[in-house]
């Protein structure tokens, strides 16, 4: 049973517009949430994170929103650039665990 779901396998947006990537989770004990970006033939790279005590975290063009009541996490990229085209994974950590659980990823394509 999937604990972390990224229901959209792919997303296509125009350059300059907003990209919104979504992630749903099942366990209210998760306390730390991360987004990773992955280019083909490379390892995932850390993008942005948020702890469960916050509902928003910003880093430049990237903002992560956490809705604990809905068990929903989203990543907003504004404005989107062609270089943002990659697969985005959300990941969650359960309190007290050394492990992360990853979603299956969403492939973002930003068209010029």
């Amino acid at each position: 049973d999937q604990q972390v779901k990224q229901n959209s396998p792919s997303l296509s947006v125009q350059e300059g517009r907003i990209s919104i990537l979504n992630c749903d989770y099942t366990n209210s004990m998760f306390d730390y949430f991360l987004w990773y970006k992955k280019y083909p033939a490379e390892g995932p790279t850390f993008l942005i994170s948020i702890s469960s005590i916050k509902d928003k975290n910003e880093d430049g063009r990237f903002t992560v929103f956490l809705n604990k009541s809905a068990k929903h996490l989203s990543l907003h990229i504004v404005p989107s650039q062609p270089g943002d085209s990659a697969v985005y994974f959300c990941a969650v950590r359960q309190g007290g665990s050394e492990k992360l659980v990853f979603g299956k990823g969403t492939k973002l394509t930003v068209n010029p």
Binding site: G43, P44, T45, F46, A91, K104
Partner: protein
Amino acid sequence: NAGVTQTPKFQVLKTGQSMTLQCAQDMNHNSMYWYRQDPGMGLRLIHYSVGAGITDQGEVPNGYNVSRLNKREFSLRLESAAPSQTSVYFCASSGGAWTQYFGPGTRLLVL
């Protein structure tokens, strides 16, 4: 400062052959991880280690063994490779802030 390094980058094995995937990190991190990535499956944890000599199973441990002899290195061994183990393998490390840093990956093809 190389971060997380993995060797080899690519390997082809025949069914039944064995091999060891090597991983090293220079960030003085306590925890290290091995994942596999398959199309449509995301990243699945194979084994992980929270310190030298301490390892534990992840989500998909069958067919794999690991070794953490020191803080820097974490190896993954396939004793008898199977076609189902064809995948891309990523090593990662973490220094306790829950963010994991990944290596570039090893592409393994088992024929």
